[in-house]
Subunit: 138 residues, 2 copies
DNA sequence: TTAAATTCCTCTAGAGACTAGAGCATTTCG
DNA sequence: CGAAATGCTCTAGTCTCTAGAGGAATTTAA
């Protein structure tokens, strides 16, 4: 039986975060010691590692909740799990595209300023005041 | 004199957001009508457009607050403004790098699953359970 | 065995950048 | 003049945690 601190050390998930996941319904409510402290076993360790890995890949809590509930029906088809992952991949790609546009615009703005003149002539300030100076939309 | 709704229509910033910016100290507290409604003039329009553009470029409230206070000292050197923009550009680039790693990993995971088998054999679920199947870190 | 050190408990609040809604007041238009 | 549109303040909710208060349980060392 592991304490919440043990679980935390073994998974790299902070103690309050573990309690938060329990509250959000990702982890089943743990058994308790006589003194009301949480006690975990191997299965909880695995599930928390699953959650952690999914979070690291950027999935949100509700997606993880779905994935967990899917994984509890091993004989069902995996189409839903596939869709969740594909949707997330799509969202990540869209985010990258947006950030790339920002990056281009910001790089252009920064390149016009050598940091060595007065604010009133500064291209950084001027281009923030006037989107007309930008190349694209954002 | 413009009402808050006029300002909103002309800048594309929603009314509650304008009030929020005032509360955060980005916009000066507006003059008021006899009936206590906010009244704006041209200068406020320009400042709000500045804020909006900076937000669209991903700068956060505190960076914008700094930029505004810098722009009120037109004769000072622009090194600080330059630094704020460069730091932000750097942060955007780092975010892109992280997302690209996620994208690769997710694309790999999704490509191993055709969505047409049982959950217990599903590569999506298995790779979430085991980071060892991943190519890189995240 | 007992005292000290560590870990644990619950609950509340805060982060960031808004957004939604309640309940009421003012302004505008026909 | 009366209805519709717009405005006001205040509170609470979004999301994923994180920090802290105040107190209880557990572990370690003397
Ligand atoms: Zn400059
Ligand atoms: Zn622009
Ligand atoms: Zn599959
Ligand atoms: Zn991984």
């Amino acid at each position: 039986m592991l304490s919440i601190g043990d679980l935390s050390r073994r998974t790299g998930v902070k103690v309050p975060t573990i309690r938060y996941y329990e509250q959000m319904g990702l982890l089943a409510a743990a058994e308790r010691s006589e003194g009301n402290q949480r006690r975990y076993e191997r299965g909880d360790l695995e599930r928390l590692a699953f959650i952690r890995h999914a979070r690291d890949l950027g999935l949100d809590i509700s997606a993880i909740r779905e994935l967990i509930s899917l994984s509890e029906h091993p004989n069902q088809p995996c189409a839903d799990a596939d869709r969740i992952a594909s949707d997330h991949l799509k969202a990540v790609r869209e985010k990258i595209e947006k950030l790339k546009k920002l990056e281009q615009e910001l790089a252009r703005i920064v390149s016009h300023c050598d940091g060595d003149h007065a604010i009133e002539d500064c291209y950084v300030i001027r281009s923030l005041s006037d989107h007309g100076l930008c190349d694209g939309e954002h």
